[in-house]
């Protein structure tokens, strides 16, 4: 029974996603087709003066830029259904390949930051919720609020100054050392280039989850069941481990999955600061240089990414929370 309702729930969600993505694509397409940035100029760059009118028309024809937007959208949509996102103008390769390659670099970065910030933020939230009003609780709250006001890219720059320029412990940028053949890049190189961006994202990511967990912890501690537990003689850490964690963990995990949107945004900035060759950096380049197919592909990808985060959050609630799980049983 539970499987049936769960199945229905997932199908429903996916239908919504398809409609949402279609709307998003249409919106995005109409937005970018009105852009004053000339894709041909963006493609050719400084050599624009040397390009004759005839050559320009040829390029436009090659990219299909001479057709009206509606037709271009139709063609793009049809190709999309066949899994073809077109070719990236700046990388001169299929968009799907570019995204696929950079996906792995980004997923390692984001995954690492996601886990670290989640764990750290959860612990900080619990402590500051328990120590509310005491100096440690206040300090953590103050720190998190300050972090929430910190520009991600500035934090990245500060870490860069400290660890790369002053201490010289870590390299300054790029996902791999410059001037080294990609075959010669070692795992160690990759890791040293990963540390700073991951650190930046982890530090910034702590704030949200910690503040949320803190509030939840305070609510739980003020709840009727904690009152009754105290009336039965439970106190202090016993209360925390027996009832507190149990009731705070679920919303915290859910929140962490629902925060994919901020995570991706943070990754865009961190990757830019550290020239880390991930999806975020590709998004910036595609935008700056007018690479329409790549930009569209990345918009689509980020929407799907956010959607899966939210879907997982919903699913966890349905599968883990007995109130939803066993309620589904009886329906």
């Amino acid at each position: 029974m539970v499987n049936k309702s769960l199945f229905k729930f997932i199908v429903n969600k996916f239908l919504r996603m398809i409609i949402l993505l279609t709307t998003l694509c249409a919106l995005t397409f109409s937005l970018v087709s009105h852009s004053p940035i000339d894709p041909v100029q963006a493609y050719i760059g400084a050599d624009m003066m040397k390009v004759s009118h005839a050559q320009r028309e040829k390029i436009e024809e090659y990219w299909g830029l001479n057709q009206p937007p509606i037709e271009r959208f139709e063609r793009w949509g049809k190709n999309l259904l066949h899994g073809d996102l077109g070719n990236s103008m700046i990388f001169r390769r299929p968009v799907i390949q570019v995204i696929g390659e950079r996906f792995w670099a980004s997923i390692v970065l984001m995954g690492l930051a996601w886990v670290i910030s989640g764990l750290l933020g959860f612990i900080m939230g619990i402590v500051s919720g328990m120590q509310r009003g005491k100096w440690l609780g206040r300090l953590i709250k103050w720190y998190c609020l300050t972090l929430a006001s910190t520009p991600t890219f500035w934090l990245g720059l500060v870490l860069l100054i400290v660890f790369s320029v002053w201490l010289k412990w870590l390299p300054i940028g790029l996902g791999v050392p410059a001037g080294v053949l990609s075959a010669d890049v070692t795992l160690g190189d990759r890791i040293t280039h990963l540390i700073l961006p991951a650190m930046t994202l982890s530090i910034v990511g702590v704030a949200n989850i910690a503040l949320h967990t803190r509030q939840k912890m305070i609510d739980v501690m003020a709840s009727d069941y904690i009152l009754f537990a105290r009336a039965r003689g439970e106190s202090g850490l016993q209360l925390l481990f027996r009832h507190g964690l149990r009731n705070v963990a679920l919303p915290a995990i859910t929140l962490q999955f629902a925060s994919f949107s901020e995570l991706f945004g943070g990754a865009v900035l961190a990757e830019q600061v550290f020239s880390y060759p991930g999806l975020g950096q590709a998004t910036v380049q595609a935008g700056l240089r007018g690479d329409l197919p790549l930009l569209l592909g990345l918009v689509l990808f980020s929407a799907v990414f956010v959607f899966f985060g939210n879907l997982t959050a919903d699913l966890i609630y349905r599968v883990v929370d007995p109130r939803l799980k066993e309620a589904g049983d009886t329906v």
């Binding site: 006001s149 520009p151 202090g236 865009v268 935008g287």
Partner: protein
């Protein structure tokens, strides 16, 4: 009388001195926050542009009493650049968040009062905007409108309304079931009349607090998008521009180019956040049980 404190609970003992001062301290925080922000804007107008012109004799100076934040590779005073950049950011942030809050107010009220179709449509729009990472949406809009102040303002305004729209919609739905609104409806008042006479006054606090709390986000996103190269043009004294330029000079040890401007931005954003939080406490004291 033998006064024993209630030491059984997990929480702190009542702090009399702090509690009695809460009202004053809240007011002081709000006023000093506003004073700081006004000072920054005033200073940026009073400072002459002389200091941010090229001075080759004063290039690459580290922070000193003469140049608090040092100078850059063209000899421009970083303190002046920062203050002017902050003032620009505050202006753009204010404009963008005001637009955003007005959009949220209109859409939120429309969703809650104009029937099911409108509600579905607006909720759908909220979902679409929330389905995309903020920054990606910003890049997209800035890309479509071309970079410059226009793109940034519209971009930030367009990406920040969904959350507040949801809050206002929920608030209005709740207000609509309240007695005085029900009575008005039975008396045959029009929807618009009810909205203006009854709903708006209740939503005004929400509106202002929402505005002040949106503000820090707007400034941060303006700086981010400018930093990435989509926002304000490199000729304008924006914090995003300063930080983006500084990246080329960090490896040679000119840390002050990035450190102080970014820190100032952090302080301004944090002050706005504090002002917003304290305003909310004034309007809704139930959130103040601490």
């Amino acid at each position: 009388m033998n006064q024993l404190n209630h030491a059984l609970s997990l929480e702190e003992k009542p702090r009399k001195i702090i509690r009695f001062n809460r009202r004053q301290s809240t007011l002081i925080t709000i006023l000093s926050g506003l004073a700081l922000l006004t000072a920054i804007i005033a200073a940026s107008f009073l400072m002459s542009d002389e200091a941010i012109k090229t001075h080759f004799e004063a290039r690459n100076l580290s922070p000193s009493w003469q140049h608090f934040f040092g100078t850059d590779w063209l000899g421009r005073d970083m303190f002046t650049r920062t203050v002017k950049g902050l003032s620009l950011s505050i202006g753009i942030g204010l404009l963008a968040s005001t637009v955003s809050v007005i959009v949220a107010l209109i859409l939120g009220m429309a969703a809650a009062t104009l029937g099911k179709t409108v509600d579905t449509l607006i909720s759908w729009l909220v979902d679409v905007f929330m389905g995309l990472p903020h920054l990606v949406a910003l890049i997209l809009i800035a890309f479509a409108l071309g970079s410059g102040a226009k793109g940034v303002i519209i971009g930030v305004a367009c990406t920040h309304w969904p959350n507040l729209t949801r809050i206002i919609r929920a608030e209005v739905l709740q207000l609509r079931t309240s007695q005085f609104v029900q009575v008005s409806r039975h008396m045959g008042k029009s929807r618009i009349w009810i909205a203006v006479q009854h709903l708006l006054p209740h939503l005004l606090p929400q509106f202002f607090v929402g505005l002040v709390l949106l503000f820090p986000h707007a400034i941060l996103h303006e700086a981010s998008i400018t930093f990435l190269g989509f926002g304000l043009s490199p000729h304008q004294p924006a914090i995003g521009v300063i930080l983006s330029e500084s990246m080329n000079y960090l490896s040679v040890g000119m840390w002050w180019l990035a450190f102080f401007p970014g820190l100032s931005l952090l302080v301004v954003v944090r002050v706005f956040d504090m002002v917003g939080d304290n305003l909310r406490l004034m309007f809704d004291p139930h959130s103040a049980h601490e």
